[in-house]
Symmetry: none
DNA sequence: ACATACCTACGTAAAAATACGTAGTAACCT
DNA sequence: AGGTTACTACGTATTTTTACGTAGGTATGT
């Protein structure tokens, strides 16, 4: 009985050439894997996917022209037989949730070893899903109940935007006509929900999520 | 006359394992290059550099514990025979200027091809400098006449990046081996120079100016 | 020598924020 | 009715940061 090696065909998508080609160089050392193509943004990833029919699209999130999240949603609709494995530097739980909802089969951080990436590729190729959530497990489970995009309430978002605009709790309280103690409570709740502990973290979050 | 191949010894520094190992895999295909070690932050990069004596440290900027800018400044002082080639996603001109002042021999974006990276490595190994400034040429030349773009000193920029990464004054002091009182003083000076009064303002400034 | 810039560090006092709890009210849903 | 969520607010204790000054040491430039 002849032994047939079926290679997992992978399309590699990342706008950073060094990163993309570096990962490709490594993957091509693996006998069961074939890198069949490259793309530098989500739009080209979609075109190439339809053309090349990879088993797995290994894709970054942040890219010009079209990012990984949008491309994932489109691929999931137009080419559902193709699995999307997201490669990211970020482990924000709400991002992971969005990607799951968009139809991604997996998510690994660029922090992980190649062994873990290979494992993810194998598991996804078997039709399962692989989400690397070790570091985010607590934040992630806090998120699941709310389900809908932002973990913050409307009021919390208002308070956060004030904080991130540099207002003290006192000034925020005055502007919103509430007690400073209420601002402090909101602040605690916000920090807990988004998993940060400092004003710098709050500010970054607000900037990244368009609150200011 | 026998032909002697002298390999360029490279230490690879990046906190993202996939990125680092991917680039290493590619570099090791090149006969004239030997990857002699790895590090995941600036501090370890400094230790390994002294220990392994690479010709070139190929290093990312944004990393935990100690970033590339700070490590570059330290290496430039303590191991000036070692060249630092910065790998980055960002092409902010004031970053490039800071890195030049800190003693970096080169700067390439993760956008560039491996051919260009190899070219940069060769040029730097010959003792020259290589700054990939094609996309930033106009912004960069706008910076040169003013010369003193940032109102902040090198040390202040280091302190600010720690603050904006969410570290307390206490943690910053510990990491930089200075007194917490010194951190407070730097903080006051920074706030005065850039005209903000809050941590949120500091964080925003740092983000906008590529310090983190 | 003198001046300047930078890094380091402190005294004093006060303000601000954090952390960990508690709880009331209103609106909504089952 | 009971449960949940969101908004409001507090007690207590502690930590952290701020503000406004002070000043020494080193390196550099004139």
């Amino acid at each position: 009985m002849p032994s047939i090696v079926v290679k997992t065909r992978i399309l590699l998508v990342d706008d950073h050439v060094l990163v993309r080609d570096g990962i490709a160089a490594y993957l091509q050392l693996e006998e069961s894997i074939e890198v069949v193509g490259y793309a530098e943004n989500g739009l080209i990833a979609i075109e190439k996917s339809k053309e090349l029919q990879p088993d797995i699209v290994l894709m970054d999130i942040g890219m010009p022209v079209m990012g990984g999240l949008e491309a994932t949603a489109i691929l999931s609709k137009e080419a559902p037989e193709i699995n999307v494995l997201i490669l990211s530097m970020h482990d924000e739980p709400e991002y992971i949730l969005k990607l799951m909802q968009a139809g991604a089969s997996g998510y690994v951080l660029k922090d992980v070893s190649f062994d873990e990436l290979l494992k993810a590729i194998k598991i996804i190729d078997e039709g399962k899903t692989y989400f690397s959530v070790t570091a985010s497990k607590q934040q992630f489970s806090n998120l699941v109940p709310t389900a809908e995009s932002s973990p913050l309430t409307a009021r919390e978002s208002v308070v956060l935007s004030h904080i991130a605009n540099g207002l003290s709790n006192k000034s925020t309280a005055q502007q919103l006509n509430i007690s400073i103690r209420t601002v402090e409570t909101h602040r605690q709740n916000i920090k807990q929900k988004i998993g940060v502990t400092t004003t710098a973290g709050l500010t970054k979050y607000a900037l990244e999520h368009g609150l200011i």
